[in-house]
């Protein structure tokens, strides 16, 4: 059966993890990122620029640059500035530790759709417990610098047993910092979070209270800040994707292309294939009965997400 994506010539969004390296080692990290965890086969600067050319040539309108921490990559600005020069709108997902005024000033010259900063606590103690090595002061300063430069700010919050008691304070902080959107949802059982699941997973009652808090804060703020938490679970997101697969290519640091974040399936390799070929393979994957069966299984049971980073190349028909 054809999906809407089959009628598109290219993705509408490329979500590009440009490295697995990071300057923090967050307990909840869904990409298994941490200091020194750069993959041995990550795309180098020249290979990354070839991907940039492909994105521009295929008129992909919107690219998210994430990681790991994208700002630890030496060629981050080569990528961002080349995409910006091609008119591609950018979202930068960062922990904010390196996002000083100089970096923000350079970003402000580009068509930046938003900068998303992670705030997983409202006290240094809680923030650092979940984000070892992180400075909340730096994260807040990064948010202020983003707004001072006139760039749109998004905040993301990963709920765990360690930080949920500060969720309300983080929401109010996000609003005070001038964020236009607050992103959250159920903790994803992927990567580091999957390994530390028993330590991190909030109880059902905590989630119930959290959702109540989000509804209440959204009412109180009366539309001054968007709340983005639906679908709430990765399983629900996968279920929705079965109805309409996202027009998104998820590119890994080594150029491999994933079918979905919660699944280990790899459908293409941008080091060896063009973006058009990768897009055809991605669309094909979403018509492949074996892949769809795996997606259904993962949608129904979050324990199936735990191996999402044990990437496996698919052998799917592109026809």
């Amino acid at each position: 059966m054809a999906n809407r994506i089959d009628s598109l010539s290219a993705p509408l969004l490329v979500s590009w993890q440009i490295t697995r390296d990071c300057d923090l080692c967050c307990l909840h990290c869904c990409t298994d990122s941490a200091p020194g965890k750069r993959l041995p086969d990550e795309l180098d600067a020249e290979e990354a620029m070839r991907v940039v050319d492909e994105i521009a040539r295929n008129q992909v309108p919107y690219v998210m640059l994430c990681g790991g921490e994208p700002l630890v990559v030496p060629h981050f600005f080569r990528i961002a500035e080349a995409l910006g020069a091609a008119g591609v709108q950018l979202k930068i997902e960062t922990n904010g530790q390196r996002l000083d005024a100089g970096v923000v000033e350079r970003l402000a010259r580009l068509p930046v759709r938003s900068v998303q900063v992670s705030l997983d606590g409202d006290s240094q103690e809680v923030y650092e417990r979940q984000r070892p090595g992180g400075s909340l002061v730096k994260a807040h300063a990064a948010c202020r610098a983003v707004r001072a430069a006139g760039l749109p700010l998004e905040i993301t919050f990963a709920p765990t047993r360690l930080n949920l008691h500060e969720a309300g304070a983080v929401v109010r902080r996000a609003h005070a910092l001038g964020a236009f959107r607050f992103n959250t949802g159920k903790l994803m059982r992927v990567g580091t979070a999957a390994r530390l699941w028993n330590r991190l997973e909030p109880a059902a009652g905590q989630y119930r209270d959290f959702r109540g808090l989000l509804e209440c804060e959204a009412r109180n703020l009366g539309g001054q800040m968007e709340f983005c938490y639906s679908p709430f679970t990765l399983g629900d997101a996968l279920q929705a994707s079965l109805g309409e697969p996202p027009a998104t290519l998820l590119v890994l640091p080594n150029g491999w292309v994933k079918v979905a974040a919660a699944l280990p399936y790899i459908c293409a390799d941008l080091r060896r294939e063009s973006l058009a070929e990768a897009w055809a393979a991605y669309c094909g994957a979403w018509r492949d009965e074996a892949v769809l069966a795996g997606i259904r299984r993962a949608a129904g049971n979050e324990s199936h997400h735990a191996d999402a980073n044990d990437w496996r190349r698919l052998a799917v028909s592109q026809a």
Partner: protein, 83 residues
Amino acid sequence: MKLARYVKFREEKFGGVLFETRSEKVFTLNPTASAVVREIQAGAAERDIPSLLKARFRDDSGAIEREAAAFIAELRQKGLVED
């Protein structure tokens, strides 16, 4: 009139897509709507676009003009264009 700051357009075989990246909403466009967006990008004046399309599609029935005008109004209502 121009596309709003966070709106991107791409032509497709079926017409085109407008992508409002801020809300991440996608709008699928038919050939007439895509032609309207191309005229907007080319800098045509809003009041001239329906007649430009009438001429381009050689449509004497008035249907294209009406469709184009309605689509421009919809673009404005959805905040997808700005002055």
